[in-house]
Amino acid sequence: MMTAILGAAGSAIANMIEQSPATAAPPSFDNGASLYLFNLFLMTATTFLGAMLVGKQCSRIWTQRFWDHPLHPVTLYRAVTFCAGVGITLRCGAEAMFLWGWNPQDIVTSARVSMAKRWIDPIAIGFGLMWMTIVVLGEPGIEHQLRKAPLPVDMWSRWPVLVRAAAVILLSFVAALAAVCLR
């Protein structure tokens, strides 16, 4: 796999990028600048947000490892969110690398990021299937536990936690805008 990606010069995608007319965005955007901006912004922002979620869940699982054992519902919940976070981070990270690295004048990099995406996607799918499996297998036990008091969940008092996420989203939009308008 690594030799295939590193030796990208003669690959099929490199030949295609070389022969097709040069576009500032990948061809599937049909030279649509706002669509390219939207995708670039969302993929970049979601990669960072996913990485934040994964890091937070990892640290919580680790610090609670003496009290919350692997088959407790809370650990299953953390495992589900961890796998979902890793899945979406890998998927959006591969896509973001592809969109950022698209440069018809630098064919080798463009080919490398296109091919790397194809290898990273199945790993992301693997994590996706893992969290779905945990949900399906743990459903009766988890739902039984979740029906216990206190209900309902007070979500609105947790607003300030989202400030950091909002900052990341805003900065990603500025970066994507710079990429599209100031190339």
Binding site: F48, Q105, T109, A167, V168, L171, A178, C181, R183
Partner: protein, 128 residues
């Protein structure tokens, strides 16, 4: 939505011809720089410091955090300019230097310290 339309208007002009187009150059203090990769690098450093930096609590930590962010910004921007990096490389450089954070000081100390010591030895060695 107006931001999207602005992006569409500017980007449509940018999207049309890639090969014959000049890269956007801005000027600061008489020095030219590529606008796109520099802005991307700045955003990447700030995002990384926002994610990694703000784990600590307290007032003094905020000042320290801002100083480390400014230092990382300086090193990253100068690196992007020196190496004339494109968008992806500039973004990854920003993320990397942002994640080094305070480690940049140690790395620079190691890189320069040996040479300074050798230069001082040579200076004093020559005199005596």
């Amino acid at each position: 939505m107006s931001a999207v339309r602005l992006g569409a208007a500017l980007g449509a002009a940018a999207m049309t011809s890639v090969a014959s187009r000049e890269p956007v150059i801005w000027w600061i203090f008489g020095e030219p720089f590529h606008a796109g990769p520099t802005i991307v690098c700045i955003c990447a450093v700030i995002i990384t410091r926002v994610i990694i930096g703000l784990q600590a609590k307290g007032r003094a930590q905020v000042a320290l955090d801002i100083s480390i962010t400014l230092l990382s910004l300086l090193v990253a921007i100068l690196w992007v300019q020196d190496q004339q990096l494109e968008l992806l490389a500039a973004g990854i450089t920003g993320i990397g230097i942002g994640s080094l954070g305070a480690g940049i000081i140690g790395i620079a100390k190691g890189a320069v310290g040996g040479r300074v010591r050798a230069a001082i030895d040579a200076f004093f060695g020559m005199k005596s």
